[in-house]
């Protein structure tokens, strides 16, 4: 958890602090904390000149419980993870995974064509491919030799 390298990727320092705070909260808050801790999914954003790919680690989610919405260049990802239902007489020995609702909003590097967005949920990873809006695509200008 603490061994995250700052060198290889551009890490967001705020999210590192939030993660640390979450871990500390978890350590001190005892058993009843699992309903109140709001675990935000971590995101990676990759971009090319044509599109942007947002990936999120969201293990164990029913894809019906995932909502993706796009307004201009803002992407909102929300959903919930349902806890395991224990029957009477069953008890937890250890509970580290978190449950509940989450929501994240990020600003994309450019406006996207919302009608062509593809989202795939596979192996607990959500991948959203957002093509750049046609009118915003960079134009290549050829220079004529005089």
């Amino acid at each position: 958890m603490f061994g995250t390298s700052f060198g290889r990727f551009r890490m967001a320092p705020l999210s590192e602090l939030q993660r640390l705070q979450r871990d500390i909260n978890r350590a001190f808050s005892g058993f009843d904390s699992f309903m109140t801790v709001q675990e935000l999914p971590t995101l990676n954003v990759l971009e090319s000149s044509q599109d942007v790919i947002v990936t999120a680690e969201l293990p164990g989610i029913n894809s019906d419980n995932l909502n993706i919405s796009i307004v201009n260049d803002t992407l909102t990802l929300s959903g919930s993870r349902e806890p395991e239902v224990l029957e009477e007489g069953e008890s937890y020995h250890r509970q580290e995974r978190s449950y509940g609702k989450f929501s994240r909003t990020i600003r994309l590097p450019f406006n996207v064509d919302a009608s062509k967005v593809d989202a795939i949920y596979k192996k607990g990873i959500l991948t959203i491919v957002l093509p750049r809006a046609e009118k915003e695509k960079p134009k290549k200008i050829t220079i004529k030799a005089a």
Partner: protein, 134 residues
């Protein structure tokens, strides 16, 4: 967390496991829930990016080790503009007690979540003794 943890969770392997790795990838400790039912002990681990082919579960003596490999994503032509997580392999080990039947361990992976069901050995199951009326 409560102090009433059983043998299954008592001795947690330090991260990363004390073996030298031959790959340079990062190793993460998956977050795990463990709960006990009447006949089983269920272990659930969050391992996003892992599927049934890339997960290894081994039981040696009384150490249950789970390991998962995550393939390197093909990001050719893309630049990372924002990164909050890195991908790596998963590894974690658990000590299990004698009450687990070693021949009856089921595992399944779904949506990046590994679920291992350890069945309790017959002798460890709670037997209810009926009291006869005199």
């Amino acid at each position: 967390m409560s102090n009433e943890t059983k043998d299954l969770t008592k001795q947690e392997a330090q991260h990363p496991l004390e073996t030298e790795r031959t790959r340079t990838r990062k190793v993460y400790t998956p977050r795990v829930d463990i709960y006990e039912t009447k006949d089983t002990i269920v272990l659930i681990a969050d391992m996003p990016g892992v599927d049934e082919k890339s997960v290894d579960i081994t039981l040696e003596k009384n150490v249950l080790t789970i390991a998962g490999g995550v393939g390197q994503a093909n990001n050719k032509g893309y630049t990372v503009s924002y990164a909050e997580y890195e991908t790596g392999d998963y590894e974690r080990a658990f000590t299990i007690s004698d009450e687990v039947d070693r021949d009856k361990i089921d595992a399944e992976v779904k949506n990046g979540v590994l679920k291992i069901t350890l069945h309790k050995a017959e002798k460890a199951k709670v037997k209810k003794i009926a009291v006869k009326a005199a």
